[in-house]
């Protein structure tokens, strides 16, 4: 097990293996998103309270879920990198940040567009769910700005890891905000006491999209980690062999 793990975490091995893995995440992910979005838009019945506006759930929930998942991947990888000094884990943390920022942006935008017809407002300052999600966007920006400001990759890894870990306190706040405080935002739909608050014909497309977006996110993340690894290992022999294949003269 440990031997396998160390081999996987070795940069040249990861670089080669991840290239083969990306399509296995990406293609099924796109298929699931196509199925989930089609059935969510055209087959699932309209909500008895929200009408067809509820269909925004099929993009909003996957985006919001992944915005937090990306932060957890970033913070946990950064923590592992700090403690065990595994180089690959710092690369994962750095690669997760821009994707997390994009998905947070998407969750905020689709939430705002959904809120306009349902709550009568695009945005509500002081709402705990909305505000804590916006804070997460700023945490991502802060993390990326801090990394960009430090030339030395090792120092950037350490400083940004501390920021990622401190900011992780925001994750449970986002998650439980709708329970702890009164919020415009509706409560949990899928994982709640008494089972999902949706009939199967609404729920299945949502699960397909959550799973599909997760797979596509995985493909995007692997791609970005490869870029990070290539840059970080640029002085290594194996990188030379990768970018200048055998026979190519210098």
């Amino acid at each position: 097990m440990w031997k396998w793990f160390h081999k996987l975490a070795s940069p040249p091995h990861f670089y080669a293996l991840s290239a083969k893995m990306i399509p296995w995440f990406f293609v099924p992910g796109i298929v699931l998103i196509a199925y989930g979005s089609w059935t969510g838009l055209f087959v699932a019945p309209a909500d008895y309270q929200q009408g067809d506006a509820f269909r925004i759930i099929y993009v909003h929930v996957p985006a919001a879920y992944l915005s937090m998942m990306a932060y957890m991947i970033m913070a946990i990888s950064a923590g592992i990198g700090l403690i065990w000094r595994i180089k690959l884990s710092h690369a994962v943390a750095a690669a997760a940040a821009p994707l997390g920022a994009w998905f947070t942006f998407l969750a905020l935008m689709t939430g705002s567009i959904w809120g306009r017809p349902m709550w009568g407002t695009w945005w509500e300052w002081g709402d705990p769910r909305l505000t804590s999600e916006l804070i997460m966007l700023f945490l991502y920006f802060g993390y990326m700005a801090l990394r960009a400001a430090i030339d030395d990759t090792g120092k950037a890894d350490k400083a940004s890891a501390v920021l990622a870990l401190v900011g992780a306190v925001n994750i449970p706040i986002i998650h439980f905000s709708v329970e702890w405080w009164s919020s415009l935002h509706q409560g949990a739909t899928i994982v709640r006491e008494g089972g999902p608050a949706m009939p199967p014909e609404m729920l299945i497309p949502l699960l397909a999209n959550i799973f599909g977006f997760t797979l596509v996110f995985g493909a995007l993340l692997l791609g970005r980690v490869r870029t990070e690894v290539l840059f970080r290992e640029r002085r290594k022999r194996w990188v030379r062999d990768v970018v200048l294949p055998a026979g190519a003269e210098a």
């Binding site: 009408g51 067809d52 506006a53 099929y58 942006f105 998407l106 995007l220 290539l230 840059f231 200048l244």
Partner: protein, 53 residues
């Protein structure tokens, strides 16, 4: 067909949300690929320069 696009009067909200999502996915893919190509070409140039010395 028009009924489907109208989404019970919420068409503008629903389609904007789905369009934005598609847009963000495309941006993430293009941005990732471009960055990888740039890093790979920088690394290549550096190695060539070093080996030419």
């Amino acid at each position: 067909m028009n009924d489907v696009l109208a989404m019970g009067g919420y068409g503008a909200y629903v389609w904007t949300s789905f369009g934005l999502t598609l847009g963000v996915l495309i941006i993430c893919m293009v941005q990732g690929r471009r960055r990888h190509a740039r890093v790979a070409s920088d690394v290549k140039i550096r190695i060539r320069a070093m080996e030419a010395e």
